[in-house]
Symmetry: C2
């Protein structure tokens, strides 16, 4: 918790639940990334937190943006980002949205299938396109499925097909998995990418860019390596596989830029047990899985959680943490082994740390009548 | 699909994705429930679909309402429901919200813990309260956790404690699980409830009401028993355990009233394969887990899905169905064995049936920039 957030919560006492985001933390994270990975252009993954305040600040600092949809393009342009600094990174786009982006000046697009190339060739002629490689990396906290990317032999054929359709086969992207803590995964992914560069060289296509995706972590319950170690792993992987013929590099941090900048303040609505034999207390908060904490799905992301009663000598005991809705699936943590002070009371404030990413935008419009999660940017 | 919805889609051609809800179906479902279960008062579970159009129509027809939050109370009152017809059925309530409800005239409240009784005694003095029993029933499609209810011996003590605090111990509630298809579960639950009635009788408390909760199904992929068979199971269970001394009965259908009334129209954004060896096609729709289909979580609710190309003689093949966001968890069905026509094309319309309940309100505010799910009530 930063001093600025602590002061805001103390002075403003906003109604709970709410997220308070400290923009200074995002600025520092951005500058840290630039310092440690000076060769990589940062494309902020807007979906992590689409607040205009964040996008406008990063645009001023020279950031580029990875956008997922037409509304995200509109948001970035309105917040001052230039269209040539946008990458339409979603591999699943309606042709009408591609046309919209192209019309606004966007010239960089992701794809991973022939059907997407067909749309791009019609709606964004001559644009730079990069093909996403399928990775099923170990070690990421948020599950990576086979939803995005294609295998390497198909990627080669598709990049050739892109040239044949009048598009510019520009590069390759991959994603090692969100909240990736196994640094060796970058080496594996970059190695695959370099092989693809070579294969395309042999048919006269010189790719120019590697998009390293996201994967930089926020600080949840488990300690994670610092940004400098990530930068080191990436730099080593790139020089290892590309030697001194380095292509342009793009990195798309979302969680790694904004996650740590937010604190979610919540209130204990109820503490109870289900039977006289239960050991664990059920602690119900005024925020749950459908109010912004969707990433607790299957207890994937384990946030650090604080109360005013934490401290030395304070006895604590096991809890099940749940949200306030009438949905029986609205449970945050049942198996992850959370403990809270035995003195915890209804009405106590509970702070959920590192909630700057993937919270507000996941929030349901009005499930059970509850309002979407409020956010303050300071 | 009703003729009315088909005509609307044909004539209006609304942009996808959207849900179209036929209010006539809800009216018919409500009348069917009244006909088959004339002794039970219907409390519509507003959270299933909080559209004012639905609440207003049901209020006119004499329905009562099960509400989960302060905004749902405001919604019902505004739509013409009388406060004495509202049951504040969430067992997790802020004291300020209880006070709000009481001030508006609500006099019926759920609870399952001592801490909740403390709040009710202060903020809703003299009100009727009912205790929710913990059930972990088999046979429901949407998972039932231990989140709600307490065990029977604790419930007995809590109902006595309610009297001691100046509240009126009015009844018992339970929930057999949403989309419950094992009719025997009602007998088990009613049996437990009757035991609790007897136990309280022995300490001079005469309970007056059994709240049978929800659990009535909508028609998803698996065929379900008709409403008359549910009514029969419930009536048998009640007379079996209560004889001719039947208490008042409340039923709280949500899904069972509105689920079948809605059709979600969506569009195919992309069809692709990940490798040359893949058998299944990936079919990406413009609606996903975060745009309103949250109940596909863990592939729990399996919707019936139709396209214009379905039909005799049309060859179909396996598909993975996924949503349009950049979230790798935004997959609808990967293991459930869905098939779609081999001739399916990008741009084709796909209709997801029985999406009148638990769709619009689950929709994320702007995840990946996508707008919340639009709904039309006709």
């Amino acid at each position: 918790m930063t001093d600025k957030i602590a002061r805001f919560l103390e002075e403003v006492r906003p109604p709970t639940p709410c997220v308070v985001v400290d923009l200074d933390v995002i600025r520092d994270n951005y500058q840290g990334l630039r310092r440690w990975l000076p060769l990589a252009q940062v494309y902020y993954a807007v979906k992590a937190n689409p607040a205009p305040e964040i996008v406008a600040m990063l645009a001023t600092m020279g950031s580029s943006f990875d956008v997922a949809s037409r509304p995200e393009i509109e948001l970035c342009l309105k917040a001052g980002a230039l269209p040539e600094r946008l990458s339409f990174g979603n591999t699943i786009k309606k042709q009408s949205d591609i046309a919209f982006a192209y019309d606004k000046g966007v010239r960089l697009f992701a794809f991973d299938s022939e059907a997407e190339l067909d749309k791009l060739a019609v709606a964004a002629p001559g644009s730079r396109v990069f093909c996403r490689l399928l990775m099923t990396c170990e070690g990421a906290e948020w599950p990576l499925s086979r939803k995005f990317g294609c295998e390497i032999d198909m990627a080669r054929d598709l990049l050739v097909a892109a040239r044949d359709r009048g598009l510019e086969p520009y590069g390759v992207s991959f994603h090692v998995g969100s909240q990736q803590t196994d640094l060796a995964q970058w080496d594996i992914a970059v190695g695959k990418t370099a092989m693809l560069f070579t294969a395309l060289n042999q048919v006269g296509i010189e790719l120019k860019m590697v998009n390293l995706g996201g994967g930089l972590p926020a600080r949840y319950r488990t300690e994670v390596p610092g940004i400098e170690r990530y930068a080191d792993a990436i730099t080593h992987a790139m020089t290892n596989h590309f030697g001194n013929n380095l292509p342009a590099m793009i990195i798309e941090p979302g969680r790694g830029l904004v996650g740590d900048a937010g604190i979610l303040e919540s209130e204990v609505v109820l503490i109870s047990k289900k039977s006289y034999r239960d050991e664990a207390r059920w602690v119900y908060l005024d925020i749950g899985k459908f109010g912004g904490l969707a990433e607790t799905m299957d207890e994937s992301i384990k946030y650090r959680i604080e109360t005013d009663r934490d401290g030395d000598g304070e006895e604590s005991g096991p809890v099940v943490l749940a949200g306030p809705t009438c949905d029986s699936a609205d449970i945050l943590y049942e198996k992850a082994g959370y403990e809270m002070p035995m003195t915890l009371k209804v009405g106590d404030k509970v702070r959920i740390l590192a909630t700057g990413a993937y919270t507000t935008s996941y929030s349901a419009v009005n499930f059970n009548g509850f309002e979407p999660l409020k956010a303050y940017f300071i």
